[in-house]
Symmetry: C2
Subunit: 351 residues, 2 copies
DNA sequence: CTGTTAGCGCATTCAT
DNA sequence: ATGAATGCGCTAACAG
């Protein structure tokens, strides 16, 4: 805890001559009217003399006056700010949801501010709290790391929508998720239609979304009568683990196709296949999940399950707006994902 | 502009039973003391009876009391919040700088909030304004898009540090940048040492950083006496442009090496080389710039110039702290980049 | 139609 | 150890 900022705007000339932004009183003084009148004029109230209003607007413009959100929030009880809390800035999945959030927020006159949890639950809670303290009107949580209790608590202070798949459904908060089971089914069905039978699965960590995808994989394999599904390997976050898991997967059972839990995992499979001299897609088909930029970047371009991220972000804000208008019942939305077929999948090799 | 939130905490039972967070008065009431005493106790003032303090702390803890940043900011003139303004959330370069900012902010008890410009100058200005309205104590701008005037104006309200290379040095704000010319020289020198002579360059848009790199490239080629530097192609942001530019570059002059302005451009070269059946690095060496995750993702792994992003972020906050302690002179810091050699560069092919 | 006045919210700091 | 005053900028209610 270092020495905090000392500068005060009042008092004698501060070092850097910090300038107060013009307030409504400055405008009032410059225009020679009361600040109430300025307020009315600025908000287009009818009861203001046209000439006076013109003068006020001119002065305000000249001074570069802009009303202060927080001050207005103080009296109106709303700030027109929406907070977005996300686990991991570096995760492109998250940032695309943010784009959707921004779209709808913009269209409705809201400003969006972001808080970053750095993949740390404690920090996520702190940041959520920080947003709430700013009196944001609502929060979109792009994370499945928070305890249901923390979310429910937060929702008592402002409407909260979770984008993703929290471990348990928290009371009082809305959720938007994609149908992981359906996505897994789409990928596996696609591979099966291409004639693959030995379809292996590279599974993720214990996160709910990963589990749902693995469950979907197993269910689909069962439905297809494919008992020979080679292996399910738990992988960690470290890329070394992924590589190791991928190596293990390709060595045992000699699969002709792999359904990876996400694009990063799929990339590990691609790399491992390359190292082992297995041609993709000729001898091995690979599918990812999330359709991140990665999928369009690696060679061969990755077939991947696409979550409608932008739509999810938009929907999240829509749900916030509904809460603002009085909805009290929780709403959970599950969106259908979409398989994007690229170059990493092809017909199964003949024996 | 949709109907804004209507809920007020006061009045009769609001639909969702929105709960006020406990304030210092609640704690005072529950502990049977005045709020002044609570304030003193919480901040460890000596003049508080030990037993009383213990009771107050216990009550505060039980109620889950946490002081409100904004209210404290009101009276103290500082909020202990730092704002980060960035051009593009999806740009991993930016997010790594953020990590550095967060490191140092954390260590000094500051909270970090992010505002996103969506690659739009107007929006960047709005977001900068939004941060300032929150009374953040300082702002780190990770962008070179803002007009110097906008930055200077902002700096009158709170200290501002720009990470990156603004077109002109704005008065009153500090800057942290990497030495693009030196980075370019490191890359070209590396290629020259490997025996390359026909070293082409894939240039970027008109952004200052890109220009500095191109200048560095040309200067180094001249210094090395390599007049035969094939071509400089202007590329746009669209990936199609990049591909086209890369194709053009590899067709004319048959270079044996390419210094690309950034990793994305290098990736385009890699892809194009692959399409044309040119083996990398056997027949063509490629270097990138920025050392993004991309560099460690593509095959072959990309040799790239690394900017010390985390350090830059940390330094930015250090500079903010200096301003808080009274520094008034502008400070501009230029950090040395570092060439990271991977698999995409090798000795020049024999004729 | 215009101007004045009193809070909105909360924590700190000064007098007592 | 306490009440009252204070910081901020705005809007709403009311008086002129």
């Amino acid at each position: 805890m270092k020495p905090p900022p000392t500068d005060r705007t009042n008092g004698r000339a501060a070092p850097a001559a910090r300038r107060r932004r013009p307030t409504i009183v400055d405008v009032a003084a410059a225009a020679g009217v009361s600040k109430s009148l300025v307020s009315l004029a600025l908000r287009g109230d009818d009861g203001v003399n046209a000439a006076t209003r013109a003068r006020i607007l001119a002065v305000a413009d000249e001074l570069g006056y802009r009303s202060n959100v927080l001050a207005r929030g103080l009296v109106q009880g709303r700030t027109m700010i929406l907070g977005v809390l996300l686990t991991d800035l570096a995760n492109p999945y998250h940032t695309e949801v943010v784009a959707g959030v921004e779209d709808t927020a913009d269209a409705n006159g809201f400003t969006v501010l972001l808080a970053h949890g750095r993949r740390d639950r404690r920090r996520l809670e702190q940041q959520l709290d920080a947003l709430l303290q700013l009196n944001v009107d609502g929060v979109v949580v792009i994370s499945s790391w928070l305890e249901p209790q923390a979310l429910t608590d937060a929702a008592r202070r402002a409407p909260v929508v979770v984008v993703g798949r929290p471990p348990r459904q928290p009371a009082g908060v809305d959720t938007v998720a994609n149908d992981d089971a359906a996505g897994a089914a789409a990928a596996v069905d696609h591979l099966a239609r291409l004639g693959h039978e030995r379809i292996a699965h590279l599974a993720g960590t214990a996160r709910p979304a990963s589990r749902a995808r693995s469950d979907g994989y197993r269910a689909t394999m069962r439905r297809l009568g494919l008992t020979h599904h080679t292996a399910v390997v738990e992988i960690g976050d470290a890329s070394r683990h992924r590589a190791q898991a991928a190596a293990e997967l390709l060595s045992g059972g000699t699969p002709t196709a792999v359904f990876a839990v996400n694009d990063m995992a799929a990339l590990a499979v691609l790399d491992q296949a390359h190292a082992m001299g297995i041609a993709v897609p000729e001898r091995l088909s690979v599918t990812g999940y999330d359709n991140t930029v990665l999928a369009e970047t690696v060679r061969p371009r990755l077939t991947s399950v696409d979550q409608p991220r932008t739509v999810m972000g938009r929907l999240a804000v829509d749900m916030l707006l509904e809460r603002f208008s009085g909805r009290t019942a929780d709403r959970r939305e599950v969106l259908a994902p979409d398989l994007v077929i690229r170059d990493s999948t092809a017909s199964a090799p003949r024996r």
